[in-house]
Structure formats: C-alpha cells, structure tokens
C-alpha cells in the first residue's frame, strides 16, 4: 500500500508544500517543489530526516559564559538528543574563534561541532 504525505520543504524560507507518494522506503512520486532541493528534501525526509544542530557550549574564562556552535552538516534527527548530551558535557577555554572545531566527528556522523562566533577572554 502506498502512502502520501505533504511536507513543508525547509531547504529555504520559501516553504514549498511538497507532496510525496511512497511505499516503505521507495519514493513513487514528488510534486509541488519549486526546485530540485525540494525533491531531495522530500526523499530524505521520508527515508531518514536530518537537521543541522545549533546549540551552545560552556566557555571557561570567556567574555560570555557560552559560545554558540553548530554541526557542520545535518545529522540524523534520531541522534539529536544524544548529541546534545555530549555537547552539554563539553567546555572550551577562551578565546574561541569562529569556525573553531569544538568536537570532531560527533557520534561518527562525519559532522564536526564548530563555534559560530569569536569569543574573547574575560577582561582583567
């Protein structure tokens, strides 16, 4: 039995409504996407949804107590909470540079966790 699902593509803020017909892991038809990214998104969304994970990491001696970070690639939605546990136990020392790798290859996903801003040392 085939199933149909209407998804909102999140590849960009346009938010196309994409309708996918599928049976198990087999995609039968994709409609409503304005660009190829929409089709890729819909395919992936049915088979194995992934997301970029943006969060924060604690900083020692920083001008602020936290530095924002993100995964360099989308990771499986299923392991987001496990990734959060690891990131929650991590602490880096100031100064931090934008793009600096904080955790390499988190949970063997091939994605690194990198800083998304510069953070200087606490003054004084």
């Amino acid at each position: 039995m085939s199933e149909t699902k209407t998804l909102t593509c999140v590849a960009c803020p346009k938010g196309c409504e994409v309708t996918v017909k599928y049976e198990g892991n087999e995609i039968l038809d994709i409609q409503g996407n304005a660009c190829p990214q929409g089709a890729d998104y819909a395919r992936e969304e049915i088979i194995a949804p992934t997301r970029i994970l943006p969060t924060t990491v604690a900083v020692k001696d920083g001008a602020l107590p936290l530095v924002p970070v993100k995964t360099t690639k989308p990771i499986s939605l299923e392991i987001i909470h496990d990734a959060m546990k690891i990131i929650g136990k991590t602490k880096v020392k100031a100064p931090v540079k934008i793009g600096q790798v904080i955790i390499e290859n988190i949970l063997e996903t091939g994605a690194d966790v990198v800083a998304t801003r510069d953070l200087p040392k606490k003054a004084g």
Binding site: T8, C9, V10, G15, E17, R51, P54, T55, P68, H81
Partner: protein
C-alpha cells in the same frame, strides 16, 4: 559636552545599521559613525544562534552570529567609526543626535544625515492583558532566548508558549533541547504567525503540540508561576466557556508580536504609519523629516534578516546621495496604497528621481492566508499588471517590482494601489 560633526550617523549596530553604514561608506561618504548601546555589534543576531539566516543574501545557510560577523568584518575592514556602550537619547528634526557613554559623557553630534536602525522590542504580558497574577516565570520569548543563549540560564523546566511567532517556535525547540518539557504552543489565530519551516523544524520534529484557536485565559501562582489555564476561542477570538484546561507550568513564554522601537523617531518629529508602527518613507527610506532615514525592524518588522540587509542598503545608498547633494525629488509624489487583503506596503511614497533604476521593489504583507493568488498593481484605479503567487501568508513578506518604465509611460499619477486576491475557480 563633546561636540562632533559627522556626514552620517547610524543609530543602532544591528544588521540594519551595519549594512547601511557599509553602503554609505562604499558610496564615497567615509565620515560615517555607528552608535550602539550594547557592548558589541550585531543587534539581536548574537542571541539567534539557530541556522536559517542568509539564504537569500549569501546563498548559504548561516546562524545569526555568523551572519552578523560578516557585516561586522565589513565594518572593521573599512575602519568605520563605532561607539559601543553608547545610548542615543534624543534626535532633533535638524539632525542633532544626543548620546551618552562612560568615556565621552554627553555627546552632541551634528549629522548630515541620520539613519534610524534601532530595531524593535517585544510585546509583553501587560500589553496583552491576561487575567490573574504576575508571578516570576512569565517572560517574553526574546528575553528567554537571551538568558538561554547568551547568559547560560535556563528560564524553567515546564513551559507553555503563547503565540506562534518565530521567536516562540525557535524557543520551543531550544528549551526542549536543553531538557525542558515544552507542553504546548498556543496560538489565538487559526494559523501560525511564524515561518512554516519553523513549525516543522521546531514543533513537529519534537512532537510539541501547536494548539491553534487557543489562548491563555489565566495565570496562576504567587511568587513563581504554577499553572496556566488555556481555552479555545471562537471566530471573534473570544474564549469559549467550558473549554478551559489547566496546564502545570513554571514558565510562560510570550511570543505575541514585535513593535518597532520608535521613541527616538518621534522626538525627531518623524510621522509613523499606524499599520507598520514604523515611519512613513519614500523609496529611499527617507522619512517625512528631510535627511532622516529608517531601515530594518524600526521601519517594519521583518521575518528574514536578508530583507533587512536589502532595505538597509537602499537607505545607505540614498543617505549617501543626500549628503553629496545628489538626491532630487520629482515634482509629483505618488502614494502607494495597501489595497484588498494587504496590510501594508513599503515604501508608502515614491518621489525621488533616479534615471538609472529599472524597477522599484515594493514589499508587502497580506492580512490573511491566501492560496493561488494574484498581486495586482493599479494606477489611479486602472490595472497595470499582476503577478501570480501560489500562496501568501501574513508571516512571510512578499516583494514585487514596480517597473520604472511603467512609471515613465504613465506620466503624472496620484497613487498606485496593490491588491492581492485569490483567483476564482482554483
């Protein structure tokens, strides 16, 4: 009092102020200064740690801090003068800017042109009047975002969110990821106020219920919030008796709208538009006060920072022209009207001469969600042309071009009206 003279003063160092200052500089007006009350540049972006910024402008997906960093780098590369920890207190109609900081004390800056880029603030519980007590634990979503992402303090463990604006949706996910139990997002309208992608990525991904046609009807708790009562509402947005439900929560986040921050603009005699809460501007983003420009969230609330950047660049271009004496007004002013299903159009007036431009982009929002619709432009009642859109939502801004050639062909006209209507039979 320290007295200075500058060609252009930019008030606010968020994405709007940064992009405007860079544009002014790149147009050859290098005597430009940014005044920012915070300890760093970037405006609201440093606390918006999520991804989703820059897809239009940079064609890649950045987080808020990364987007801000690009413009901060641009400002630093040009050695544009910045005063941080500097609060602007007053602006006069003849463009004197009064500010204060620890280093200089009081400052008076005589500016050739002023660009207002103060952003917006959030509506609060008081502003929407929920019955009940006012315990700790009731705060705006943006304040919660600052606590969580900048200061490292989680505002609570059991959360209800009122309002489905983007900040509320983003914070639902953020608090869930940090281990809080986000029990529901209540939206009084039958549709969400945020971007659809945020409903998917922030609520559906984490099974957080979105209760449309629901609002908070009571707040309980003395020192700390203990529970909220929610109710379903009818078509007139009135709570329906008998639908009350009590939800235990220690935190209520309000994401019930943003208001452009125009206290300073009013002091400078800038006239505001009731619909946007921001200034009435011409296509150069100049307000009714000559030489005072506005852009970003202080002009109208934007959902995407990319649009903020575009608007700031327009303001920067024209502010530079103004200072150089290159800005000419045509003898007629065309009024742009928000017609059927349109809540507002920016700019509100067209009155500047520009031989080189091909088109003037018009930015607008719809009042209600529409599908298979047509954006129609007409001049003094006569239809010009139209654009098709598969759908339009109040939360997502639309932009259509008004061709300069059309304006030239039309000759003298009084007004242009934009209507957005659903096509029949679809």
């Amino acid at each position: 009092m320290l007295k200075l003279k500058k060609d252009v003063v930019v008030i606010g160092g968020g994405p709007a102020g940064l992009a405007a200052a860079v544009k002014v500089f790149d147009n050859g007006v290098e005597d430009v200064m940014i005044l920012e009350r915070d300890f760093e540049l970037g405006g609201i972006l440093p606390q918006c740690i999520h991804n989703g910024f820059g897809l239009h402008h940079f064609k890649e997906e950045l987080t808020g801090p990364e987007y801000a960093q690009r413009f901060i780098d641009d400002v630093e590369d040009r050695d544009i003068e910045v005063k941080l920890d500097t609060m602007v207190l007053d602006v006069s109609p003849d463009r004197k800017v009064y500010a204060m900081n620890r280093e200089d004390g009081f400052l008076e800056i005589e500016a050739g042109a002023v660009i207002l880029a103060m952003g917006c603030r959030e509506r609060t519980a008081g502003a929407i009047g929920i019955p009940g007590t006012r315990p700790a634990g009731v705060l705006t979503a943006g304040t919660a975002q600052r606590y969580t992402n900048i200061e490292g303090l989680l505002p609570g463990k059991e959360v209800v969110i009122l309002g489905s604006g983007d900040i509320g949706l983003i914070m639902a996910r953020r608090m869930r990821l940090e281990g809080a139990d986000v029990k529901a997002v209540c939206e009084i309208l039958p549709y969400t106020g945020g971007l659809t992608r945020n409903v998917v990525q922030c609520l559906q991904d984490y099974d957080i219920p979105l209760l449309l046609n629901h609002t908070v009807t009571r707040i309980e708790g003395n020192e700390r919030l203990e529970a909220v009562e929610i109710s379903e509402v009818d078509e007139n947005l009135k709570p329906i008796p008998g639908t009350e439900e009590r939800i235990e929560a220690d935190t209520l986040l309000l994401s019930v709208g943003l208001i452009p921050e125009n206290e300073l603009s009013k002091k400078a005699d800038v006239v505001l538009d009731d619909r946007t809460g921001g200034a009435i501007v011409n296509e150069g983003r100049e307000t009714n006060v000559e030489g005072i420009f506005a852009c970003g969230n202080v002009l109208h609330v934007h959902d995407l920072v990319d649009w903020v950047t575009q608007e700031a660049e327009i303001a920067g271009d024209w502010a530079a022209k103004y200072v150089k004496g290159d800005m000419r007004r045509s003898d007629s002013k065309i009024k742009i009207n928000a017609g059927k299903n349109v809540s507002y159009v920016i700019p509100q007036n067209i009155e500047l001469e520009d031989k080189d431009r091909k088109r003037i982009p018009l930015y607008m929002r719809v009042t209600t969600p529409l599908t298979a619709c047509e954006i129609k432009l007409s001049a003094d009642g006569e239809e010009l042309y139209s654009f098709n859109e598969p759908f339009a939502k109040p939360g997502e801004m639309l932009s259509v071009p008004l061709a300069q050639k059309t304006l030239n062909d039309l000759g003298k006209i009084e007004e242009i009206t934009v209507d957005i209507i659903e096509k029949e039979g679809e």
